[in-house]
Symmetry: C2
Subunit: 305 residues, 2 copies
Amino acid sequence: MSATDGRVVAECTRPTDVARGAQAIVAELIQLSRDCIARVESENPGDEVIGIGIGVPGPLDIRRGVVLLTPNLGWNDLPLRDLVSEGVGLPTVLDNDANCAILSESWVGAARDARFAIGFTIGTGIGGGIVFEGRLHHGISDCAGEIGHVTIEMDGRPCGCGNHGCLEAYASGPAIARRAAERMKPGSILASLVDSDSSRITAETVYRAARQNDEVALDTVHETARYLGAGVAGMLNIFNPDCVVIMGGVTGAGRELFEPLQREVAERAFRPAVEACRIIPGSLSGMAGVIGAARAYLDHVGAPR
Amino acid sequence: MSATDGRVVAECTRPTDVARGAQAIVAELIQLSRDCIARVESENPGDEVIGIGIGVPGPLDIRRGVVLLTPNLGWNDLPLRDLVSEGVGLPTVLDNDANCAILSESWVGAARDARFAIGFTIGTGIGGGIVFEGRLHHGISDCAGEIGHVTIEMDGRPCGCGNHGCLEAYASGPAIARRAAERMKPGSILASLVDSDSSRITAETVYRAARQNDEVALDTVHETARYLGAGVAGMLNIFNPDCVVIMGGVTGAGRELFEPLQREVAERAFRPAVEACRIIPGSLSGMAGVIGAARAYLDHVGAPR
């Protein structure tokens, strides 16, 4: 839970048990919100919780507060905003989770001095968000910022979105794992980390093996930097932002990823765009989405007088 | 020359003789402006020319009024704004020519009802521009909108920008001609249009041959639609605009290009983004740049009281 200045004042978490279905998850979300509100108000006498902001995977209809489709959660046309609002008794706002992440970084995080900030959230997929002068660009039907779904190979790998050759199909966590698995060598450090079972490789294993100089893992990290570099360079040429923030698990690779990424961007983008832009990891890590959802609430509903 | 409501009130043109150098071109530009102003003011008693807007190939420094680099014209750090302003005695504003094109379409042309308009200008290169709620997005150092320079093939054809695999390297006028030339068949309609000299093929020849059902020409047009489709789909996923305007010579291909282009976009972009967006040719043809430059002037300097 975040204050109106972006400070986190309380944290209550519970894993999402997808198998239990939308209704059960919503009920749990409502209970979790009530518990968290009770805790905050008892620990901070005089403070009041004014509303709820929720970051969810898109696509959404923000005006109607509806989650249109979330392949990973199996939701379909779910009126999440009104369900939570009625359940908790507070005004509620939905926004895309990747939008919330860059919104928070631009509010109180790594991009707080930036006029034009572009966020890449790299995890199971590649999400994105665009913040111009402190405000999210949602587009005409709330689905802007899908920067993981730009074509970087015309006839490339199939992508979860139904298209092929998308950035996400090459540089998301599972895509990194897949590329490493395809080339894993028997007896290598990478193989030893997964007991020679390539299906157990994750992006995290790849980074660990790369830090131990495993050849395939190092190649995979450098290749990832090239793919991401092409994607980021495109954003520099399109938006000419002063800040690109890379968020999510992949940033765990650290310098091993960021240095070749920055080199690739410098090779691919226009010089004035490269010189004007910092490419940096997020600074709010796990809390970016939560803080951003609070800010999305303030932007939609406003702070109390 | 355009009125403050976007109407064209006079037109004076002269071809640019690049070989004569920047100084000669600037002198000619000043003389041309004086002639045009004199004509307008004598033909429209009581009217007054208030300023000059110039659309030039980027990259520019708009605040300083300097053309940083134009490979095609051979200009380098040319303070064009002040040179013209001092020569003519009127306030002057520079903007990128592709920016001017979509700005005019969004002001009085094909995109005049759009909230978020993205323009592709396809000619010798592929330029672009982004208009959000009537205003151009210039980015932090005036080089936003270079949507021809996004990677669509990681290790693709070399591009004039120094990168490789850019959209421009596949779908600009010269790139279309090059792809057709590589595959021209002896004795074909395409070959007959250029007296069997493949170096004489232009995009225009390719469209002409395609209209006569030349196989290679038809394949080239359809391939162009695929490449452009990937580029346009990327813009839909990134911006979720309500209008994409395709401008420049390539629009001469008409339905032969637009139909497969729209199909490719529908296949590659998210459904809510596809459903919300019109993809249409520009309506101001040769005058788009001029009208847009006038509008850029009004946006920078303002109209007189």
